[in-house]
């Protein structure tokens, strides 16, 4: 970028009336970072990046903080913080105040924390002597503060799998406030989580589009007990996180491929899988060795994150198009999501990618035995004519049972999360226990993450995060207080997400670049 171009773009950001002060500052920092040289890549990887066959999600040219950071808030509350000059809290008021302060100091790719802690666990030591009404009032004020202080839909908390007074109170507050922030995942363990808590969560989805549901036993198998789903659909280790997330566009790989399906699986695919791995490695090395994030950040110094609980996320997307292109190339009619042979091919592709990623050593990834985590990446606002992750294209989804059967076999492979959104009819408002049945069934079927939404609440689910419909409609004229709304306005226009009859907020993870 020439100095002249740099100045012109900086000027555009400074003068963009649809951005708040904080949003302008964020994009100015992004612009400055991208004026620096990219970490060194081979010519082939650089070209693939340039052509967006592999994609760094516009994380920036010189990574100086890890993409996703999951501080061990329980430890912070227990020990207090020297850096923040805070003693360990002794009651609920002090704990909530401690957390609000700490959130302002937790970095991530979006500039906001993507993980707030599992509130039912980290607040448990402080609520025994608090009556229901006081708990409700304090959490309600805290909840409003979160939405106003951290206006980004990728700010995420987890609840469950055990029932608790804290979770029940939070669901009640969610249904009253109808806020975008924070996003929520409920951990569901079929043996432990009562139907009645899942039902309470379903009623909350009906009102607000939150929470997501995650298959707790499957997550524990892959990540251990201390894990959380953050941002949206990114499951990682607490006290750790992910250095970076780079993704491979399977549609582009299929378009470039010449030859039969076997040579795609055995030659073309492994070639591009390695180029994305090279990109991930270069970015990790820069973050750890050059920017030395883990040597200076107070979270690391105070043991609230540990490098050996980190890994990186290896993302894929555009599986649906890749399968359809390969099927057509073999003169076959079947399409992904609708045809057994096409579905089998899709499983063959994801298994192959999983095998390659699991056998490719990655530096500073002790959090997953020296390998990257596989992730089904759910898209950013600029994605055009390519389907998120391993989803079935919007508008082509078969009826729900066939849909679940088609996508569930992928879920086992994606330790770091996989998203399939199910649009359900309004009739479940009168019979919400039907959704409890379906969630339980989906986990029996092997799904890792389950998200459903209704057409008739005031939210649009974009790639996994939420925006308010009214915010998207007003965005063009007035700008948005939430970072994710800007992103969503682009996503709604580009990918017809409203065709799915769903839901609006600036979501920096998904709209990572400065507006142009």
């Amino acid at each position: 970028m020439s100095m002249e171009e740099f100045r012109a773009r900086a000027r555009e950001i400074v003068n963009d009336a649809t951005l708040t002060f904080h949003q302008r500052r964020h994009y100015l920092a992004w612009l400055a970072e991208n004026a620096l040289e990219y970490p060194e890549l081979s010519k082939e990887a650089a070209e693939a990046l340039n052509k967006q066959i592999i994609c760094d999600l516009f994380e920036g040219s010189a990574p100086y903080r890890a993409r996703y950071i999951l501080p061990d808030y329980a430890r912070a509350l227990h020990n207090g913080s020297t850096h923040l000059e805070l003693d360990p809290p002794t009651d609920l008021d002090e704990a909530l105040s401690f957390l609000l302060i700490m959130y302002t100091q937790v970095p991530s790719i979006t500039g906001y924390p993507v993980y707030l802690g599992d509130f039912d666990k980290i607040l448990a030591p402080y609520v025994d002597k608090v009556d229901d009404e006081t708990l409700y009032r304090n959490l309600r004020l805290f909840w409003i503060a979160l939405d106003r202080i951290l206006p980004d839909a990728f700010v995420h908390t987890n609840l469950g799998p055990h029932d608790s007074r804290i979770s029940r109170t939070i669901f009640r507050i969610e249904r009253e406030l109808l806020q975008v922030v924070p996003n929520i995942s409920l951990k569901v363990d079929p043996e432990v989580t009562p139907d009645d808590l899942i039902l309470d969560a379903v009623l909350t989805v009906i009102a607000t589009g939150k929470p997501h549901f995650v298959n707790h036993p499957l997550m524990v198998r892959d990540l251990g007990e201390e894990y959380a789903a953050v941002s949206c659909y990114n499951s990682l280790k607490i006290g750790g996180g992910s250095h970076t997330l780079n993704r491979l566009n399977l549609k582009e790989v299929a378009l470039l491929h010449q030859g039969d399906i076997d040579s795609f699986i055995e030659e073309t695919l492994p070639h591009y899988v390695e180029l994305n791995a090279e990109l991930i490695e270069a970015r990790i090395r820069y973050l750890v060795e050059e920017a030395k994030f883990f040597e200076h950040d107070f979270l690391a110094a105070e043991g609230l994150i540990q490098l050996d609980r980190f890994s990186a996320m290896y993302g894929i997307y555009g599986l649906a198009e890749a399968v359809d292109i390969l099927m057509e190339g073999a003169d076959k009619q079947g399409r992904y999501g609708h045809d057994d042979e096409a579905n089998e091919l899709s499983y063959e592709i994801t298994r192959k990618v999983a095998d390659l990623v699991a056998s490719r050593p990655m530096p500073y990834c002790a959090g997953n035995n020296g390998r990257a985590f596989l992730h089904s990446q759910s898209g950013i606002d600029s994605d055009l004519e390519v389907t998120a992750g391993t989803r079935i294209p919007i508008g082509e989804e078969p009826e729900m049972f066939a849909h679940i059967k088609a996508v569930a076999p992928h879920h086992d492979l994606f330790q770091a999360g996989v998203s399939d959104i199910f649009h359900v009819e309004d009739t479940v408002r009168r019979n919400p226990s039907a959704m409890v049945d379906i969630i339980r069934g989906a986990f029996v079927e092997g799904m890792r993450d389950f998200t459903f939404n209704l057409a008739t609440n005031g939210f649009i689910r974009i790639t996994g995060y939420l925006v308010r419909k009214c915010d998207v409609e007003q965005f063009d004229e007035m700008g948005a207080r939430h970072g994710s709304t800007t992103f969503a306005a682009g996503s709604v226009k580009n990918s017809h997400v409203t065709d799915r009859n769903v839901k609006r907020v600036l979501s920096r993870e998904s709209s990572p670049r400065a507006p142009q």
Binding site: M400, R430, S433, A434, M435, D437, I438
Partner: protein, 285 residues
């Protein structure tokens, strides 16, 4: 008596509107009523293979088999429903005999997602032997016995029929088209004596999951009639669950298309009346 096969119209694997929780719904072919407000009139009669649908089928999926029966080629059928629209006898060439074990296998496949199954129609009690056999199979299976078994019925079956189902049936949803006998005849072609008897009998056995009152404007929706109906139901069982449904034109035959739909505000008024007699468990649709 065991019945190895039933006359099936269709199944829905996931339904949130046919009883508690998520349910697998079996629609059986054939009904003994001829309701003016019927939303799926093609389930009323057996196909007589008159063949009037064969020519109009745009996919050429319908043909006469070796026994002079109109038959469908499932691979060609796109479910465009033109055959149903042209059918002169309120039937469909797409219904078929289904073997019990085949149906149980389909239920087994989706069972982790279900609270239970509901047999609807048509009028399922006309095939009570098959329904009893199906419910028996569910209740006798280690894997499936947790599923609840429900019947969605017009209530015309006799006590003998219900006695056959009761040992294996967890609940029934009964339509009461009208409390007044003449209105009932005008709306369904049949007397309502058996329906009232069914409601009392199932309530006594604690198998009456809900009574459905379809409100058809100008026919059965006057406040006085609704109050009398609600009072009668309250006297049978004060804890009764009642579903008050506003008539919608969707699927109704052309000759009844002039019946107006229910104004939502009017439905709310009727709901107040139902509650005023003491009914607590009321659902509005």
């Amino acid at each position: 008596m065991k019945a190895a096969q039933g006359h099936l119209n269709d199944v829905i694997r996931f339904s949130a509107v046919d009883g508690p929780g998520n349910r697998f719904v079996v629609f059986l072919q054939g009904c003994n009523y001829n309701c003016i407000a019927c939303h799926n009139p093609y389930t009323i009669n057996e196909c007589d293979s008159c063949g009037q649908c064969v020519e109009p089928c745009p996919e050429m999926a319908l043909f006469y088999d070796g026994h002079n029966q109109v038959t469908v080629d499932d691979d060609l059928c796109t479910n465009c429903d033109i055959c149903i629209q042209v059918c002169p006898t309120d039937s469909t060439p797409l219904s078929k005999m289904v073997r019990l074990e085949n149906l149980v296998r389909q239920i087994d496949e989706v069972s982790p997602f279900l609270s239970g199954i509901t047999v609807s129609g048509g009028e399922p009690t006309l095939q009570a032997d098959f329904v009893a056999s199906l419910f028996c199979s569910i209740k006798c299976s280690d894997k499936l016995s947790r599923l609840t078994t429900f019947v969605d019925s017009n209530g015309s079956a006799s006590r003998e029929v219900w006695d056959r189902l009761l040992p294996v049936m967890d609940g029934a949803m009964i339509d009461l088209k009208a409390l007044d006998p003449d209105t009932h005849v005008a709306m369904t072609g049949e007397h309502n004596g058996p329906v009232l008897d069914t409601i009392r009998y199932l309530a006594e056995w604690q198998r009456l999951y809900e009574v459905r009152l379809l409100m058809v404007p100008g026919r059965n929706d006057s406040p006085a009639v609704v109050e009398r109906t609600a009072r009668w139901l309250y006297d049978v069982d004060p804890s009764m669950r009642i579903k008050l449904i506003g008539f919608r034109r969707h699927g109704v035959r052309p000759q009844f298309a002039d019946i107006p739909e229910v104004d939502p505000a009017h439905l709310e008024e009727l709901a107040k009346i139902v509650r005023s007699v003491g009914i607590k468990d009321l659902v509005l649709v």
